[in-house]
């Protein structure tokens, strides 16, 4: 993963960058499987490595395949990124140990989720669709809004034809 990220940052060829980001997503999916988060891993493999690679290739089709030379040296963004990363790592020292059953997150609502009054074998689905139904409705609306935004941005070109078609129908 480290290798693919460094290669991703260094490569000037956008096609290589797209493929490398797909590789990174697949490696991330294997990490998530190792963490027992199979649902997330599946999503990562399908979205990160599959569809978004295809969409990026589609976008690449519209522009040049070489990245332009950056106008500035990357030192300021690099130092901000490293600083934030260091802060996050420092913060993670305060978290309870991984897979510690006494961690606060396992004491609050999780026991009720696991009691499973919904009676579904896959707890992730139960939490996602039932206990947190509002969240998922919001997410679906976000996805829908993204699609509607894309339509609003990219369809302008066809407007003339569409208006004519409507006029013909009338």
């Amino acid at each position: 993963m480290m290798v693919s990220v460094v290669a991703l940052a260094r490569s000037r060829n956008l096609f290589a960058a797209v493929v490398l980001s797909g590789v990174y997503s697949f490696l991330m999916a294997t990490v998530l499987v190792a963490l027992d988060a199979v649902d997330v891993a599946m999503t990562e493999a399908a979205v990160g490595a599959g569809v978004s690679t295809v969409l990026l290739l589609g976008a690449l089709h519209l522009c040049k395949s070489e990245e332009a030379k950056p106008a500035h040296r990357p030192w300021l963004p690099l130092s901000v990124a490293i600083g934030t990363g260091a802060l996050l790592v420092y913060g993670s020292f305060g978290m309870p140990e991984f897979s510690n059953p006494l961690a606060p997150i396992h004491q609050h609502v999780v026991p009720r989720y696991l009691q499973n009054e919904v009676d579904l074998p896959n707890v992730v689905t139960a939490v996602l669709a039932s206990f947190r139904g509002y969240d998922t409705l919001g997410e679906t609306t976000v996805v829908f809004t993204a699609g509607a935004g894309i339509i609003a941005l990219l369809r302008r070109r066809k407007k003339g034809k569409r208006a004519e078609g409507k006029a013909d129908e009338k």
């Binding site: 649902d39 599946m42 009054e117 689905t125 669709a129 679906t140 829908f144």
Partner: protein, 141 residues
């Protein structure tokens, strides 16, 4: 890639299985890993795969644009409709316990329809974005 024989044959062999697996992930999401979101993405990925091999016009004959746009909106409507059904049957918004006499079965029913809504919207949006980019390149060529 239209004239590549290997790709055409392999694509024809694989796409039905990808679609089938998407349906499996959709309907088996209650029991194993998976659910609406993953199934929607797989469905879209299978159709994008078809478009890459056989070209966008052929795909748009199979999955026309109006269908994609309808899917995009109807998924959210199905989801919100489940919520409203709960409201009409005397529960709270998105309360699945009232959807059937047996509360647990009502939950299952609610989750099934909610997942269906998620899958529909996700597949619609992914396909729409893909169509938009693909058609854009075509118009400018």
């Amino acid at each position: 890639m239209k004239n590549d024989l290997v790709l055409r044959v392999v694509g024809k062999l694989l796409i039905p299985f990808i679609l089938l697996f998407a349906l499996y992930v959709q309907f088996h999401g209650d029991f194993g890993p998976g659910g609406g979101f993953q199934a929607g993405v797989m469905l879209a990925a299978a159709i994008v795969f078809y478009a890459l091999i056989f070209g966008v016009p052929a795909t748009q004959r199979a999955v026309p644009e109006w269908l994609v746009e309808t899917m995009l909106a109807s998924g959210v409507l199905i989801y919100a409709g489940v919520g409203l059904a709960g409201l009409l049957l005397g529960g709270n918004f998105l309360d699945y316990f009232v959807l059937d006499k047996d509360p647990v079965h009502g939950q299952h029913r609610g989750i099934f329809w909610v997942e269906a809504g998620v899958a529909t919207t996700v597949a619609g949006v992914m396909l729409k974005i893909f169509y938009m980019f693909a058609m854009r390149g075509r118009l400018e060529d």
